[in-house]
């Protein structure tokens, strides 16, 4: 009689467990696709990520620095992205884009894959015709042309190198190919330079309230050149951006007076990476900690002197050299 019981058990037990299984309570499902900005614009622009708010005749303009050449403007609950690239915009807590402005087709300003992912029905992509070779553009703007996009007057300002290039005779940014933008938010005139030298068309701008000046060394103005340029067109406020390899201390503040210089962090990933490193340390993930600190150091070398980084590095050293003799 033992055998049938054994047989029954052999058949029923695995069958029952196969049907009911063991549910795990420790796992959660995640998508491998990068997240897409999807937060409500009003909530984002009322939140703490906004670094600057500029009053206009018809509401407030909010500014969120993204990364490198990426800027996010919020106005009338519309989100205007400038040169969005990954991984800065792989963030569901950013708002859906209503308009995307692309200044030039280079890879640090235009990521066709990211742009395709950002597009939603109704999103308007504005860019110079040169961008169309890589990504669809809804409103192609040649230098000097203007269009109204969501109550904002957008004017394309020439953005080019005069002589800056890999060898004499070649330039990184040819004249007529790329756009800077002059944006009129209800009377508040905001200029976004893109990668440019201090060209005559830029120096001739008037009544600029806020200027985002790119210092994308070696492809655009150096901080010293940007200082001289500010002295030429006198914006009320200048915010350096795209300054990955520029030493902002080299800006000549005296020359820029009375323009107010506002420094914002356009490389916040370093702080995020360091935060991940500290979290990793708490979980004993030493290798991850070192990777994150090294990545952060590449983006923001100055941050190495932060006491938390110093202490974490000391812990890592002790881990890597555990022998007391």
């Amino acid at each position: 009689m033992m055998l049938p019981r054994f047989l029954t058990l052999a058949l029923v037990l695995p069958g029952a467990l196969a049907l009911f299984g063991c549910e795990d309570g420790h796992l959660h499902h995640v998508s491998v696709a990068p997240p897409v900005p999807s937060a409500p614009a009003a909530a984002v622009f009322a939140g703490p990520r906004v670094t600057d708010r500029f009053p206009t005749a018809s509401g407030e303009l909010s500014v969120i620095p993204l990364e490198h050449a990426g800027i996010l403007f919020g106005w009338h609950d519309h989100a205007f992205y400038v040169d969005p690239t990954a991984p800065a915009v792989n963030d569901p807590e950013l708002p859906r884009p209503d308009a995307v402005l692309v200044t030039d087709p280079h890879s640090d300003h235009l990521d066709p894959v990211v742009l395709a992912r950002l597009r939603r029905p109704g999103t308007v992509v504005v860019g110079p015709p040169s961008v169309e070779a890589y990504s669809p553009v809804d409103v192609p703007l040649r230098n000097g042309e203007s269009r109204r996009v969501f109550d904002v007057d957008v004017t394309a300002v020439p953005s080019y190198n005069v002589s800056r290039g890999p060898v004499p005779g070649l330039v990184y940014h040819e004249r007529g190919r790329d756009d800077g933008y002059l944006l009129d938010f209800g009377g508040l005139r905001v200029y976004v330079s893109g990668d440019t030298d201090c060209v005559p068309e830029l120096a001739a701008l008037e009544h600029v309230d806020v200027a985002f000046l790119g210092m994308n060394v070696p492809y655009a103005m150096t901080p010293a050149e940007a200082s001289a340029c500010v002295a030429a067109f006198h914006p009320r406020v200048v915010i350096p951006y795209a300054y990955r390899h520029a030493d902002l201390k080299a800006m000549n503040r005296a020359e820029m007076t009375p323009t107010r210089v506002v420094l914002r962090d356009f490389y916040p990933r370093a702080a995020q990476l360091r935060k991940e490193a500290y979290d990793g340390l708490a979980h004993g993930m030493w290798g991850l900690v070192e990777d994150r600190l090294d990545d952060a150091k590449r983006i923001d070398p100055d941050g190495e002197s932060d006491w938390r980084v110093v202490l974490t590095r000391r812990w890592l050293k002790e881990y890597q050299d555990p022998w007391p003799w």
Binding site: A18, R117, Y134, Y172, P322
Partner: protein, 600 residues
Amino acid sequence: MTPALVRTAGRVAALAAIPTILLLAVSPLLLHPWTLGQHNWDQMSTQREVVVKTLAHFHQFPFWDPYTCGGHPAWGSLESDPIVVSPWLPFYFLVPLAIAIRIEIVGWAIVGAAGCWRLASRFTQSWALRSLFTVVSLLNSRWGMQIGAGHTWHLLYGLLPWALFFFDRSIEAGAPRQRARRDTVLAGVIIATMVYGDGIYPVPHTAMALGIYALVLARSTRSWRPVQALGWVGATAMGLAAPKLLPLSEALLRFPRIIKSDEAMWPQYLYGIFTWREGDYAASGDFVVGMWHEWGLYLGWPALVGLVAAVVASRGPRERALKWAGLVMCSFVLGGFHPLMPWSLLHLLPIFKSQHVPSRWLYTAVILLACAGVSGADRWLRRFAERRPRVEAALGFAAVLLAIQMGTVTRVPIAQSFVNPIPADPDRETPFRMVHRLPPRPDYVAGLWDVATLPGVYDNVGTLECDTDNGLHITHRDAEDRMPGVGAFGETDPPYRGETYDAERIAPARIVSWTPNDVVVQIEGAHAGDHLVLNQNWDAGWSANGAPAIPYRDAVAAVLGGPSATVDFRYAPRTLWWGVLGGALSLAAIAFALTRKERA
């Protein structure tokens, strides 16, 4: 029922369990044959397409991959050219890529199943036990999740049981010497095949398994024979794989693959790894560093309990050796949460320094322990004497149920991954150009890193961003946010000056003929001493008109001797011919050893 009928029914059930789990596991591939996988599959599909395109369209050996990362060695890379020396290569020429990939996956699974059956037959003659061993150790959820995630090197674990089988048979007491020699060679051939297939994890795992098995067995039996055989297997494998190993070593010396590995497996979660019915390869969790496909290995409670009991019941020197090997690997699985943990110490050694995710050892550990368990279960079966056919029949039916139970989990990640449509492009030979990143396509979804490379191979377009090479990888960035070692530029990078250019002047250079390994460039109006640059990453294997090409800001270049020149840039790994010589000598030595007559 007569005993004969019971025995036959049991055998049929036992045999049926293997195709049951196999068909369940790969059913998504068969039901939807025209899809490609996600996650790392773009990389894997690209590597295969590069091989096919280079061989079929350019009639060249795929030494260099110009399509990804700005160009990198293909033959000398850890994970490139995986199908060149492979039984599945002909299928890649005969059928479309998606179908060939399916043939490769199913083919390796069948090879693995046959290997498991043969290996288990070294420890039992029971069909049910051999079937249970195959079901539990080969096509568990780890296999499904790794394949779903695009870790195609995992397929080569299908050769591990064969390596162990031939090795074990080669050291069998009383075995004919000629057969023992042949088995030693076959074990070496199998490991060499793993090397050619880019078995980045299966190779060291198999070597470690054979190593521990041989050492423990040598100690138990007080004989040097296992160690001696191990040496011959290693020498055979390295000799036969020399044409790949030497170029690979050359590339690794330039870009050492040193990966930090501090992942820890907290013991309290060990039960969950085996019993959570979770097939989502991308699932995450508190203790999961990375994703679930590196951790989960679903067996279910019945199989787990049976496995542990059978392992405990096993006796004998070979079983002891298997248990030691399995347990040592289990100790690696616990990871590196302390500097003196086994994995932390092993990770200090060469080769293992290049590995991470120690939970990957678990797959090999299960194969070894289950193999010992087969022997333990066989001891139980022997006690049943005349009732054995009925018990075996019950086990055979249990194997079918287990196959269904496990197969339904194994299939989930494959169904989850293989949803990408195939880019509807034929291979083109239009003028080659490099881009930073391919534009998005509605008919192709990028892989894990958001970087797509496969459509570029079809279109003859190279991409700068990639995840197909060890040294050049999108996650490695320098202060300029570029991958170190990348000298090529994409056409949307500011310094891009064409696919070939005069670095100092604006003298026009043009490509006269282009193939992956051979690019002929003409230039006029240059100055002597100018650098003529080819927009590919430099590697020591590049030559210019027969002389070594020089690196110009990490790109391939030649110094011009006059105003006009025609320069033939060619690529071949520098150590290739030494490797071929080593391989040929090994073949000659093997032929001599196998044909040598025994002295009377």
